[in-house]
Point group: D2
Chain length 310, copies 4
């Protein structure tokens, strides 16, 4: 199956399971995939920033994609292929598609500094991976130092028919989503799927501004699935009640550096992975941080029984 512009729902950023010694834990990939399937996600994104992608070598990256794809069955898998050059990007994209990925995701390099340079970059990237490989563009200025206006995004979408999805995690994101949807309504941009990131910290309003869903690694993808459903059904109060109950933890997971450790800690507590080990270099959780997360999970359980006992 191929990723297309109708994609919606929750594409969870999949964690990458490691053994405590730092080796890749492919066995846990099955367990984790089953967990995500049970949460009701509509897709998986592997080799994202939160997936510790840069810590894997090329062969590990391919093995990881293959394993997720095999277990995910009919669920689409997007593979992050952001690379410092086009040759490694092409190699990774082609092998990912051969392994059964539904599409790839590309973020811009931090050196791009003008509208022209950004538009030109994505044209070259599309040529590198091939016109037939659907791709999502990751718009994450805080992480990549590249700011793309709605007009620039519209130019990229126009230039590249295979660009079918925008992952919008600009900060703030709300007006940008509105602006993109306005361009679409005015026929100044064709429809593409818009999923949101930033750890989910604005997903309540992002849905109301026109997003099709979320692409983030928050450790309760099942909550995100419920939220997207409630929001699309117009159940505004219930959607916000659910979101607000999770916000203290969402906020805690969004911390740079230690956030990934928190996410794996919670996934481990929920039984989704065998170990919360990260590969080095990694920020680990202090005893105080673990106690804080336990406290947040405990408080969350008052509102959401899925929160694990600590």
């Amino acid at each position: 199956m191929r990723l297309d512009e109708q994609a919606s729902g929750v594409y969870t950023i999949a964690a990458t399971p490691f053994q405590p010694d730092g080796s890749l834990d492919l066995g846990s990939v099955d367990r984790l995939t089953d967990f995500y399937l049970g949460c009701g996600v509509t897709g998986l994104t592997v080799l994202g920033v939160m997936g510790e992608a840069p810590k894997l070598d090329h062969d590990e990256s391919i093995a990881l994609i293959r394993r997720f794809v095999q277990r995910a069955g009919s669920l689409p898998v997007i593979a992050g292929v952001t690379s410092p050059g086009f040759a490694p990007m092409r190699a990774l994209a082609q092998q990912a598609m051969d392994a059964g990925a539904a599409g790839v995701m590309i973020a811009p390099p931090p050196t791009l500094r003008t509208d022209e340079a950004i538009v030109g970059y994505f044209r070259q990237a599309r040529e590198a991976i091939g016109d037939d490989v659907p791709f999502a563009l990751q718009d994450y200025p805080l992480g990549f130092s590249v700011v793309m206006t709605p007009q620039v995004l519209a130019r990229i979408v126009a230039d590249n028919p295979s660009c079918v999805m925008l992952k919008i995690e600009d900060w703030p994101s709300l007006e940008k989503i509105s602006a993109l949807r306005k361009l679409e309504r005015e026929a100044a941009m064709r429809h593409v799927s818009i999923l949101t990131g930033n750890g989910g910290v604005f997903v309540d309003f992002e849905m109301e501004r026109g997003a099709d869903g979320a692409m983030t690694g928050y450790a309760f993808p099942d909550m995100l699935v419920d939220l997207v459903r409630l929001s699309k059904a117009g159940e505004r109060a219930r959607a916000h009640d659910l979101f607000d109950a999770h916000l203290p933890l969402i906020r805690y997971e969004q911390q740079p550096g230690v956030g990934l450790a928190v996410r794996k800690y919670v996934l481990h507590k929920r039984g989704a992975i065998a170990s919360d080990a990260q590969r080095k270099p990694a920020a680990s959780m202090s005893a105080a941080a673990r106690a804080e997360v336990d406290f947040l999970l405990d408080r969350l359980r008052r509102f959401d029984p899925r929160s694990p006992a600590v």
Copy 2:
């Protein structure tokens, strides 16, 4: 009165009131100061980043400090004096102290790139403003691109007896606060006041990690005052309940760019300022954003009657 290392509680970052035409609204300074006093804050910080300091010229800056100081009475006022050079910093600091400020606040310039350069900078800054002017150091890497380890902060504190306060708004901040307090317990650093920023988005745990209070511009300083009190009294559950009720709005106000517009919008709704005008360049709120904030205020009122009717 002079700022010293015993400072605690809430030092609110004061908004700067403008007329709709962009001129400074000194009359509203009195009303705003009275509002802050009524909230129970222990101090004011003027000319902070959220105070639109760089948009004022030198004479306006001094007039603003003077007006806040006069109205604040015995309440200490800290003046931001961050400048591109030491001569304007000295001029501003001396005039601020002459106008009655209790101390000044200094952030590092974004060009500093090594531990030595950072330590050297604050030594020169202290010499510039004079040894007798107490100062707070603003540690805000996301805004200023300068990262200071706890060890570097301890060296700056040791070098400069007039450094009496650290405004910690590193992101994340929690382990840093713990590390600083550990250095103090081990007698590797003298006691200084630690207040926290980042829009208050982590103030619940920051207090528990050892902060003395908050220095941020969240539009409900009265909530922050309550939170600090509850946290210091060990009323953990009540502190978090209060914080969690406000977190959806705290999060909304923390957005870069538009956050200041939101803050002024809420302060205006609460009657604290006559107009929510910002001086240019400014990010303004869309109709959608205003409706979202109204919605958040409405929801907040279920838990906190101080939230204004919309």
Copy 3:
């Protein structure tokens, strides 16, 4: 007199003379101005980056401009007014013009990240200083982290009739100058004066690409005057011979940090200023560096008798 788009020749970036104790040496301003006049420059730029502008407080800045203007007579003086906000920019620009400046120079703040943001900034800056104040735009990506394409510069020129000069010190600059002149030939941009910077390290070819002259602080403005004249006269070989003889020193002066110290050292040796003191913070020359500069001056004297004996 007013700066206009016919400006050409050498606008030297004027050093700011200090006493050894760091106080402003207004007396040396006269001597230095006379030196520049004797070199045959067509204009002066004061309060540039190399003029230690950020180290001056507001009153010193105005006093400095006034003194240069008074001594320069009919020679146009451009005042740098780059500021973190529009209010201080306006205050400085208006007082500079009142003091007799011919125009001002504005560089963009490092936070600008999109074409729209850049174009919008200069529109607001022009409104702040007033439509009647001619300004030069400083295009210096390496120093200010803002990259402007020729198209963006053309939009700024179109938007702002008072933009009469571009100081191009992109690195590299050569293709940019060609692209701007091509836009002009194609009537896609009105004529503006283009002066070049970067310490003069490419001024030989920049002239041949279409620059009108140089705006830099190299300690031999008289050489730059000769070079511009030779280049305009089509004396290509003589122009390059002269340039090449100076290039070892030009290159040495272009070093970030210590470059200003070198420049003042040479100006002092040439009798242009009473002291080579810089105001803190400053990078000073080691004994080894002074010996290297003496060595370069000595070698230069073989080709150019204006090089001072050491």
Copy 4:
């Protein structure tokens, strides 16, 4: 053979030859290696920034190293292994050493912001590649945004016995080289090889400050070999005469972006490579730029007969 701290002379940054269609031209590697050998270089560095390393995929990188090593015979080859993560760095380093490389070169990632983070990074990098793999540290703040003081470099050297070489291309570099050699004389740092970069634009004085040689890709490595020899022999005037004759071209090649195109253009003119093609994305030379380089080569030929006729 293994790289060690006695390395000196010229380690040329080898260009990577491509066919006009962008495919790797392994045949030209032999011709290019022979050219470098004929120039008298003491070593080669492959997969450097100027070697277009990020544009190669993993298999191409290994093939390129292998080919250079085979042809270079007893000449040591250093392989750049800078990677976004430690797993790809380890994979590349081990395969490079298996292919016969003498050592590897590592630059820090741009995210490092404190002395501790830098020192910690190189400890982890050394663990990743293995204690037995000699490595050069590349100190290039302008390219990588990481500033390392001499003290930090000394800590890295102390921590990692396999760190045998520093490539110093800080800008400016002169005082840093002096500071490092002073630490060595004071026994605060063991001896390591110091080679310099920055396109060679300061190599004349860098040698006099204590460098052991140059590691740069200037298209006249034979000139660099002569310069290093003259400088070590104390023939100061002759060394500077030679350097000054080349400086106009050295300066031209040092331009970011287009510099690599210039370098390949000259190497092609000298017969060292079959084509000056670069792999995309690449800045190409305009007709004006080619004419300027031809002009510079023509002028250079007056002083150095090795400059090719144009």
